[in-house]
Symmetry: C2
Subunit: 372 residues, 2 copies
Amino acid sequence: MKKNDASYPIMAGRKLFTAGPVREIRSVLKAEARGSAYMRTDDFRNYTKALCTKLQAVLETQNPVLLVACSGTGVMEMAVVNTHPQMALVIGNGHFAHRWAEILDSHGFPYHVCADDTYAGVEEYYRHDGSKYTYDVVFGTFCESSTGRLLSEIPKISERIHRNKGIFVLDAVSGLVVNPLKTDEWGVDMVISCAQKGFGVAPGLSIISPSDRALALCRQRPCTSYYFDIARYVEDYQRGSTPYTPPVSLMHALDKSCDFILRQGGKYIQTCAKRTGELREQMKGLGFSITDEAHLGNCITEFSVPDAWHKAGISCDAIVSRLRVMGYETVPKDQKSFRVGNYNIFRAEEIRDFVSAVRTVLRSMERNLQAH
Amino acid sequence: MKKNDASYPIMAGRKLFTAGPVREIRSVLKAEARGSAYMRTDDFRNYTKALCTKLQAVLETQNPVLLVACSGTGVMEMAVVNTHPQMALVIGNGHFAHRWAEILDSHGFPYHVCADDTYAGVEEYYRHDGSKYTYDVVFGTFCESSTGRLLSEIPKISERIHRNKGIFVLDAVSGLVVNPLKTDEWGVDMVISCAQKGFGVAPGLSIISPSDRALALCRQRPCTSYYFDIARYVEDYQRGSTPYTPPVSLMHALDKSCDFILRQGGKYIQTCAKRTGELREQMKGLGFSITDEAHLGNCITEFSVPDAWHKAGISCDAIVSRLRVMGYETVPKDQKSFRVGNYNIFRAEEIRDFVSAVRTVLRSMERNLQAH
């Protein structure tokens, strides 16, 4: 794996501190390059079953974990068109909660958006609407990758939803693997996620894991998609198969990633939390601020520049551009803030190197700062 | 790339003579293992534009070639929900023509199936229905991977469809790359295909290429999918982007594959035709028969055993199982026939080795044959 291959200028030596796709570790990359297998054999069906069992362990669930060839948005739509809500509630603010709303809109399903993602916020919505709306389906976002905010109080929220006979769908695209998610214990009815964030696999493979309650609802409702019809996936799942050709190379990579994660056990999430803490402390040491730090998950941080810097002409767009020149990919948000992702196991020195690069960028902008 | 890696029992030394996924050549596999890139950068947008330009050259079209993370069935549904037919015609027999019908059914769009895939067959349908049905959308299958049959007379069929102001959608999942497809010259309005057949890339990346006429129709019609809404893909295409995270590692592989194909030029298809001819001749030499050989494409062949063998207890299921033990994956069809795929550039000796393996299998069954 040469660092500088002229035929891959865009990848040569890039260090991904983005909110996905994220860096793949070497053993995962190697697994992807093993070549395709023919998937209509008993061997491959057994392999698929074993992979799904590993995914159940990662999700802490006994529910089936279905493999779907699409991006995270694909399985979001899959959750919507199969539950076919009569009245939905979308919890939380931020970009991906907005996507739930867009998908619901595009299908003409009615919904409310609850901008307060706490239990109290959700409870208020139930009270506010009295018996008028029962919210048969509630959509939440585990980790808002536009802000890094983690949905807390999930067990209480689930319980509230179940009390009104609703089902709880959780977009765990961004938070899974790097934050604890006890699907069954917490009463989440449908988890969706994908390979290219916490799992650290290339994009293209998504998962959807429905509870019996969720499947019972889906079976009562019409499904407006052929490709995303959950009943077909569940039927094939029982025999270790998928209705359409699965992304086999990404399955190999995901399998390797699950092995790595499960071998580490609880230590994996502890290390993610530790490195994220180090990143945040060191960046605050440079002068950046972080909003609502207590509610953030272990993978995404939005760093903001002080007003004084901003007035002095230091924009986050410029910081991101200069970091890119140094080989670091981060995510521009606006002039005042940018986002940094540290999925996977980053080493302490990788975090230090990154912060050191940011320091270098700031120094090169010092003239502006001093002029003020 | 070790042949026998205990952690990948299902792939160790397998030789894929299937109808997809197919064998990936080494440079394509290596490209897949380069790791992910962050796709919201100018570099990646330029890279995507360059890849789409190469795909245009392969498809012989000036139309946009849109990248979609899904299997081939996903882009089939994309074609259906965006053209939203008022009265469709499905051309051809076989498994994947049937899938067009299933998708149309699942959305409640009316259609006819024309089992005769010649121009005369199509013309008969137009005549038969007089002015009652104009067939605003006609769905065809370029190469029926269940039989290997290639749709011929495409230019005449296109012209007939256009005369009635319809648009022509072609499922080229199986036939593209290994057979000539002159999209623009032949008047095909929408080509769909995917990476895991002729391109020899792992599954998970599909393409859809709409003409201006096709897009104009899609814009008039409602689209019942969010993820598969073609207007979003076209909008992002103009700036080298995709609305949702694309499968970047498969894009790297597809890019390498396009380079390989385009470097060979016309010689690529000639070699495919030559190897396929060798395979067919050698298998006929063993006693297998091939139906309708003159109408077959360059990648799939259905080989049938003579009735006498079948009566003697030689089943194709058994042949496929024994070939599997020897490392060869082929596709069982029924007791009397099995399918063999030879996508990509197979070398003459690979074809010979395969036929020799089949001969060995037949010899081991000789006792049954002699008993008869």
